[in-house]
């Protein structure tokens, strides 16, 4: 895997590739959902790509992240395979969670991705725990928790930041302020102007950065990571951003109008970074088109992988409840294995 960074030409191209991959993955997922190919909920990350990609590029491969219900971007930014992600969205056995998680629970613990999460505000305590493992084991790993502006109103988010600050846990709390929690604007949910101001209460650094600028996010997280590994504890980074799509697919969005979206579209994070690379002479228009078609091919392959993958067998519903074999569950598993899962 090519590492993404803001300094080298290859690193910059990789940053652009990841942002494009998220955009293409989520555009495709949105379409597949509309076509009825994907069950459940899908929350798209379109418009917010610079946040996940900038943040993960500043992390080490071994670092941990926790994600949210809007997790596809975090997964791709952390280096997960779009094909296995797509298979998970389809509920297939070859998905990251063998079809048991779906869009809201994609995880790859070995890759440090501790899970998308269907519970708003649940990730930060988990990240504090991963950072505690890193601290106890004395390794240089850091845990970064993505959470939404809406999540910042949750008690457990504050408990986690306080714990991390008190124990100097090597952690970063990254608030993706996309201006809304579902349909409620951020100013109706919080009394502070900038969510990063809450850092003061924990006596930790807090910054608000332009979340449409991948370099700005990268730099803030790189700084936070330095503090974390030096034993100086957590940093709160707020990235101002915007989601271009509805809260979930199918949301008819009565809470905002097209004009607001247009203002933010002018600041499209992918367009902005592309312009920057072209202006710097690192990228050509042709080079960009080439990159884009590579990404489109990757996502097309991801979809055909997902489509042709097998559904889990019914008896797999009984797998993975516990590490131990539990008779209460085994009796159903045995039955499902012998009769194809038709009866209980």
């Amino acid at each position: 895997m090519v590492t993404a960074d803001v300094e080298t030409a290859d690193g910059q191209t990789e940053i652009l590739r990841r942002m494009l991959t998220i955009r293409e993955f989520d555009s495709t997922a949105g379409q597949l959902f509309a076509d009825g190919e994907i069950p459940g909920f899908v929350h798209l990350y379109i418009g917010e790509e610079a946040v996940a990609v900038g943040a993960c590029a500043a992390l080490d491969e071994d670092d941990y992240i926790t994600s949210t219900h809007r997790g596809h971007g975090h997964c791709i930014a952390k280096g997960l395979d779009p094909a296995r992600m797509m298979a998970e969205l389809y509920g297939k056995r070859d998905g990251y969670c063998n079809g048991k998680g779906g869009s809201m629970h994609i995880a790859d613990v070995d890759a440090g991705m501790l899970g998308a999460n269907g519970i708003v505000g649940a990730g930060p305590p988990l990240a504090a725990g991963a950072a505690l493992t890193a601290q106890l084991q004395g390794d240089e790993r850091v845990a970064l928790s993505f959470c939404g502006d809406g999540a910042v109103a949750q008690g457990q988010v504050h408990e986690a930041i306080n714990l991390a600050a008190t124990w100097d846990l090597p952690s970063i709390f990254l608030v993706e302020n996309n201006q809304f929690g579902e349909g409620t604007p951020v100013e109706k949910q919080h009394n502070v102007e900038n969510l990063s101001e809450t850092a003061e209460a924990y006596d930790i650094p807090g910054f608000t950065v332009d979340g449409m600028d991948v370099v700005a996010v990268y730099e803030a997280v790189a700084e936070a990571r330095k503090r974390a590994v030096a034993g100086d504890g957590p940093t709160l980074v707020e990235a101002d951003t915007y989601r271009f799509r509805g809260h979930f697919e199918g949301d008819h969005q009565p809470y905002r109008d097209e004009d607001d979206i247009e203002v933010w579209r002018e600041r499209d994070p992918i367009e902005a970074f592309k312009r920057r690379l072209i202006d710097a002479g690192t990228l050509t228009e042709d080079g960009y088109e080439e990159l884009k078609s590579e990404v489109e091919a990757t996502i097309r392959e991801a979809v055909s992988f997902a489509e042709s993958a097998d559904d889990p067998a019914p008896y797999e519903a009984y797998d993975d409840m516990f590490a131990a074999s539990i008779p209460e569950i085994e009796q159903f598993a045995r039955k499902a294995r012998t009769d194809g899962g038709e009866s209980r």
Binding site: A107, L132, L136
Partner: protein
């Protein structure tokens, strides 16, 4: 060897310990055995735990591994889940089980579901220790028995020791388990003594009940404090009714085989557990017997528990609702 060692009363390879000492010994042995194990909770270190269970462990293991936390049950329980998912083996203490509503989100949606939702890609080796039970005038918010919630919720294992040996053996198994285990300590039996094996490899498998006293006429399946109460009732009835007393030990998984074997012999069942009666451990044990030993029953199954109230403060009221040996005895007499 625990520092409180007294040779066991008779049984070789054992020493006499209280439940409190047995729990402390289990923590100590498992922390010595595996440096990924650590204990965290409110006032577990300097204070030694509000019931003195972890007293002295701070000096032995230091404040990294015996960690006082902020009063932040959601935060530190969640951190326990995150730590367990990344290779640590935390033991979390929730001071009173009545406080479990606070971290419930992390328990029900993260701890219990993570392995399953992730398709088995993570272990969840976390142990949650907490105290239950009335009897000390602590009133409704510090006296509850809530273990059925956790035994009921998929993805969690739950144990309820009734003796020092069970406490030690089950806690050691809980800490060694790669699944989340809830370990419920009844606060009225911390001082209860019994013989406990000294072998550091002594463990009690999760999901095994234990016959504490053999009998032929009635099976009493009990948990926690009611194990001792049931043994007293059996003593009182000695000569009139032969009572078999079983410490259930594990609520989930539940050792149906041992219960069935006993009821096939006695034909009568009393279930004694300090949970509220409705939808409790009692009902589950009866359902298992109904499934597997219905035709061995000679009398309706009986249950002894708290009559669906909270635990009141006044000693006069508390005594009214808390089950004891007299209630077990009455239930036995009801079916003999």
């Amino acid at each position: 060897m625990s520092t409180e060692a007294r040779p066991g009363a008779g049984t070789p390879g054992t020493e006499t310990m209280t439940v409190r000492e047995a729990i402390r010994a289990a923590l100590r042995e498992e922390m010595e055995r595996d440096d990924r194990v650590f204990l965290m909770g409110e006032d577990v270190a300097t204070f030694g735990g509000v019931f003195d269970v972890s007293d002295g462990l701070l000096d032995e293991f230091g404040d990294e591994r015996i960690r006082d936390t902020p009063i932040s049950e959601a935060g530190f329980t969640g951190a326990g889940v995150g730590a367990a998912a990344t290779g640590s083996r935390p033991v979390i203490e929730i001071m009173f089980s009545d406080f479990l509503g606070v971290p419930m989100e992390q328990i029900m949606n993260q701890m219990a579901k993570m392995r399953y939702m992730f398709g088995g890609k993570t272990d969840m080796p976390v142990t949650v220790r907490t105290t239950e039970g009335g009897g000390m005038g602590a009133a409704s918010q510090h006296s509850g028995t809530v273990h059925t919630w956790f035994a009921h919720f998929p993805g969690l294992l739950a144990v309820t020791p009734g003796t020092p040996a069970a406490a030690k053996g089950l806690l050691k198994s809980a800490i060694r388990s790669d699944d989340p285990v809830f370990f419920f300590e009844n606060k009225m039996i911390y001082e209860q003594e019994g013989d406990v094996p000294t072998d550091p490899d002594f463990t009690i498998p999760l999901g095994e009940a234990h016959v504490e006293r053999e009998g032929d006429d009635v099976t009493v399946v009990a948990t926690q404090r009611l194990v001792g109460e049931s043994l007293s009732a059996a003593d009182e009835l000695d000569g009139e009714v032969s009572v078999e007393v079983i410490d259930l030990r594990s609520l989930y998984p539940l050792d149906t085989d041992t219960l069935v074997e006993s009821v096939e012999k006695t034909g009568r069942l009393v279930v004694a557990d300090e949970s509220p009666l409705s939808y409790g451990v009692h009902a589950e044990v009866m359902a298992r017997i109904n499934d597997r030993a219905f035709f061995s029953l000679d009398a309706p199954m009986q249950r002894v528990g708290v009559p669906d109230t909270h635990i009141p403060f006044s000693p006069a009221l508390e005594a009214e609702v808390l089950p004891d040996a007299d209630d077990v005895r009455a239930a036995v007499e009801n079916v003999t």
